[in-house]
């Protein structure tokens, strides 16, 4: 089980690099979403290793709140970029 935990921690690095160097803002958003998924897996495995069942509640709430935050960032960024594109055309 600790091997899985270590691999998940190692997977945080390439997605973090994608967040850092991503050429556009959408790459950064994608990397943030993937990091949230990895963190959910880390919480589940931690709950399984330490046999604390109540940590799964946190994983569920974590998933929902993190995804809703990402959804709103994407929606409002698209609105802003469309306005900026219209200004450039004018």
């Amino acid at each position: 089980m600790y091997i899985v935990l270590a691999i998940m921690l190692g997977l945080l690095v390439p997605y973090g690099i994608r967040v850092a160097i991503g050429p556009s803002v959408w790459d950064r958003l994608l990397g943030m979403n993937l990091i949230a998924c990895k963190i959910i897996i880390i919480i589940i495995i931690f709950a399984s290793v330490s046999e604390m069942t109540f940590l799964m509640d946190f994983a569920i709430l974590y998933a929902v709140s993190g995804f809703i935050g990402t959804i709103f960032i994407a929606l409002f960024l698209s609105e802003r970029d469309r306005r900026k594109g219209q200004e450039d055309k004018e």
């Binding site: 959408w26 994608l30 495995i45 069942t53 569920i60 998933a63 995804f67 469309r82």
Partner: protein
């Protein structure tokens, strides 16, 4: 080790293999954002589902398994939804692909 643990480790290994393959897709040179999104989100959802199923098999019929099934349902609904919304927002904002003459919507 019992048979249950071996089966669960094999299934989790498959999930980890999916995720490691996903990294190759994330760092392909000369591919644009939509390619990366197409690869990464599918692979990620599959990996999370597989690891969840492996953990459920490991714990047998218990309270933990019920919560794992709940989180699998939520992830199965929400993770493709987030990918869909990111792709839709990128398309609507006018981001087409890699712009070679430096005219990308970089923030």
């Amino acid at each position: 080790m019992s048979v249950q643990e071996i089966v669960s480790f094999i299934i989790m290994g498959i999930g980890i293999a999916f995720m490691l393959v996903g990294i190759i897709g994330m760092f392909q040179p000369k591919k644009d954002f939509y390619y990366r999104l197409l690869v990464a989100c599918k692979i990620d959802t599959i990996g999370l589902l597989t690891i969840g199923i492996g953990l459920a098999i490991r714990h047998g019929f218990s309270f933990f398994t019920g919560k794992i099934i709940l989180i699998i349902i939520i992830i199965m609904v929400l993770n493709p939804l987030v990918a869909h919304i990111i792709a839709q927002a990128a398309y609507r904002s006018g981001y087409v692909s890699i712009c070679k003459d430096g005219d990308s919507f970089d923030h």
